[in-house]
């Protein structure tokens, strides 16, 4: 029972985890990415398109490509043109919403949903799947779940232990100093934003291709924003983001069980992830420390 609940928390929390990891890359480089939600919408739609026409792998590829394109727009607008990053992200979300509806009509003749699509063949962890109490956790897994949780230590290593990570953090903390040392501030910030696009695209594709088996309008349900909150709760670190994402996944999977019991009106159950986000942010924010230059466009001295 406990492991089943945990397994369901992992399934629910995975999109938040992927997008939150993306947010870590973007914000550690100094760029706030409110556009995660739009990138997830884009990923969920194009993931379904790719999966519908050419299988789940093509879905992932198409989702990542489309989402990276959105991320590129965010980078051009907010890094190169130094427009307020929040404004750029919000505009991107509006654009993504309209583009998904439009493309859905163009491809599927329906604005709000795609046909059913086939996901990956579920996998099991060999060896561990013989242990009875572990069974729900290690069998019938989406490969993306495995990928997602492998990405946590990988991201930790990339950000904390590699030269690239060091440089990424440098431009997020003090871009002027980094620039003085000859680092390419703009290139690094582009890298951070584009990586967040890759991960948000995967997060969206997971929702449509793996979790639901089709694209439905509004299926992201604010998970991009929740991912941002998870990243903040996790203090801008991959491991912390994982903990927070699991917490949100847990709240969501718990809420499904409460709905089944029908004690509380389901509309209140639906509020849980959002209320939890508010509570978490109100409770922890004073104790977290964002990168020093997070959200501030870097401007070279103009001659």
């Amino acid at each position: 029972m406990v492991s089943e609940l945990l397994a369901s928390a992992i399934r629910m929390g995975l999109p938040v985890l992927l997008a939150a990891l993306g947010a870590v890359y973007s914000e550690r480089s100094g760029v706030v990415n409110i556009g995660l939600e739009g990138m997830m919408i884009t990923g969920s739609f194009w993931g379904a398109v790719g999966a519908y026409y050419a299988g789940p792998l093509a879905g992932m590829a198409l989702a990542v490509a489309a989402s990276v394109l959105m991320a590129l727009v965010h980078a051009v607008v907010s890094v190169t043109f130094r427009v307020d990053q929040i404004v750029s992200g919000v505009a991107l979300n509006i654009l993504a919403y309209g583009a998904a509806r439009f493309s859905s009509i163009a491809l599927f003749q329906k604005a709000t949903m795609s046909p059913h699509v086939q996901g990956f063949t579920p996998i099991s962890v060999p060896g561990l799947d013989q242990v009875p109490w572990l069974k729900p956790l290690v069998t019938n897994l989406s490969p993306l779940v495995v990928v997602g949780f492998l990405l946590v230590p990988l991201s930790y290593w990339v950000i904390e232990k590699t030269v690239f990570g060091l440089r990424l953090r440098a431009v997020g903390e003090n871009p002027l100093a980094a620039d003085t040392l000859g680092l390419k501030v703009f290139h690094l910030r582009y890298a951070g934003v584009l990586l967040s696009g890759v991960l948000a695209g995967l997060a969206g594709a997971y929702l449509s291709v793996e979790h639901t088996g089709m694209y439905v309008e509004g299926m992201t349900q604010g998970k991009g924003y929740i991912a941002l909150a998870a990243m903040i709760f996790g203090n801008w670190s991959p491991v912390g983001a994982m903990g927070a994402a699991l917490l949100f996944g847990f709240a969501e999977s718990l809420s499904f069980r409460v709905v089944e019991s029908a004690v509380v009106p389901y509309q209140f159950i639906k509020m849980i992830p959002y209320a939890l986000t508010l509570v978490v942010l109100a409770g922890v924010l004073k104790r977290t420390r964002p990168p020093a230059a997070d959200g501030i466009p870097y401007e070279r001295e103009e001659a």
């Binding site: 130094r82 919000v90 583009a99 439009f102 924010l285």
Partner: protein, 374 residues
Amino acid sequence: MRKRYRYVALELASPLVAIAFAVLVGAVVIAAIGKNPVQVYRIMFTFAFRRLDSVGIMLFGATPLIFSGLAVAISFRAGLFNIGVEGQYLIGTFLAALAGFALKGLPSFVHLPLVIVVAALGGALWSLLPIYLKVRRGVHEVISTIMLNYIAFSLIHYLIADVFMDKQQGLMPGVGNPLIRLPKIAASALMPRMHGFLALLGVDLPRHVYLNWFFPLGLLLAVAVHYLIWRTAFGYELRAVGHNPAAAEAAGIDPAAVQIRAFLLSGLIAGVTGLSDLLSYFGYMDLDFPKGYGFTGIAVALMGKNSPLGIVLAALLFGFLNRGAEGVQTFAGVPMDTVVILQGVMILSIVVASAVMGRYIRRQERKEALGASW
């Protein structure tokens, strides 16, 4: 002095550049689905401007956007980003609908203003928590307001479907399904349409147009907001805090106090956004009450560069886009959602154009200042 005019012209040019760029992107999108962009745009214009009903519908469509755009702009001016207009107007609309059907026997000149005030207070109520969290706990208002939007959707759903649903809709037993909606609002709280007044001016608006007195009210509000921002002490503090909170504080302004008042004012205006639809078109609130005015309000505020006049123009532009899109959907088979793409592209290009032109102007001014000192 001639140079000054050139700068003003450059400032004004950026919205036009943005519109042109959006039209171009729209043309590519339209061409991509195999339609002729020129023809589609022509249909859009003739449908929107050659018909009297279209013009009325454009003004009706612009009405809520004037309110939501002004609400967003006031928060912007104070350095805040109210993305919660969406939730705020739903709460305001709900409370207004409640006061509209629950109070009976009031004369119209009491009931209607009362309902408007209730809506505004509802909007302000829903903006209390985010500004508290912002000022006291440092929670970014963008995330908190978005969360409250989702909470508002669920709450309204619950209140309409499970608590206040109209059980006596006058259906024959066993015939049809009752709508999931609130009881109808008393006639004394409904906002009259402008047909009678326009008929005096010789304009005979068709009956299916719902242009009502909230439109001129929105224009009046825009004037009031302009006055508030540019002619009052509070407006000065608002701009100072929005521009540079640290400098404002050094000058003896309490940034937190100004931001709280600005955000609540933004919520008050946001609360009224849905009333044009509620009190003139529907007459009741149901689960399908129009959503999205809050988000479009952000686009309107950015397009209008947070100036009330600009916002009115941008709201009219969006009213035109929506009406024109209905035309091209019907007569050219192009999905209406092209318009949402256009809006997104417009916002992105206007903010980029403004940033680039702003920097160009600053650089020119610096050069001139240097030149003058030689």
